[in-house]
Symmetry: C2
Subunit: 148 residues, 2 copies
């Protein structure tokens, strides 16, 4: 696969595929992948209902899994892709794991970390927002609409 | 055991015992218990080194375990006791789990959630600070002193 294809949109699409898996399980459809040196080392989707555990957000599971793959708890040269803006819990975990870059698609106007404090993430962590925003946002909106 | 003994100090002492278990494993000595109807339903200590996982804070593990005991992911009528002020990650998890009360001993002037945003916790969550502050603080200070 060429370098060109392995861009932010490619990896966000993989996170989107994870979000779709969550949807199939009737979970809030949010997905995440973590990339190290151009390779996906962890992928996860929200499983809070299935696991009966509020901590089972996609990002949390992906961080745990990535550390397991790398054999160290710090993910310094990794990028985390997630379909929705991380909440304070996940942003806190991203900071502890020292991820160098975070890319998220849709903003979360109710529970996103930016509402609380942008400095939950380390100031050196690069953040990009907007890749596949419409599709990722629509997935969540449609999910909640179907619940009403 | 009389009602009088089962007070905040009693439960914080249990959290302190957990913190000591962390210390024995050469982990940052922080411990936590979760109490429901006067009964400890979960106890945990920091295991980030042992599990090679930044998400393995005492509070995170206790929340997961308590939900497992209660059979529901919300811990609405529970109190969480922790020997050190929760970080934003743990405060975020406490908010998701809808814990009604949090009691912490020592403040964390570097990574405590209050530095970032007091509203990471739900405004209805009652917070008490200071029970066994000196002992819990000293445990952590001595740990880091021994590392220098």
């Amino acid at each position: 696969m060429s370098e060109q294809i392995l861009n932010d949109e490619y990896f966000m699409r993989q996170a989107y595929i994870e979000a779709q898996k969550a949807q199939e399980k009737d979970e809030v459809p949010i997905g995440c992948v973590i990339v190290s040196q151009g390779r996906i080392i962890a992928r996860a989707h929200n499983l809070t209902e299935t696991l009966n555990d509020v901590t089972a957000h996609a990002e949390m599971q992906a961080i745990t899994a990535a550390a397991n793959v790398l054999g160290g708890k710090y993910l310094k040269d990794c990028t985390l892709y997630v379909t929705v803006e991380p909440c304070p819990m996940c942003a806190g975990a991203i900071a502890w794991a020292q991820l160098s870059r975070v890319v998220y698609a849709a903003e979360d106007e109710k529970r996103g970390y930016m509402l609380y404090s942008p400095i939950i993430l380390h100031p050196k962590t690069k953040v990009a927002q907007g890749v596949m925003q419409d599709e990722c946002s629509l997935l969540v909106k449609n999910f909640f609409k179907s619940k009403r």
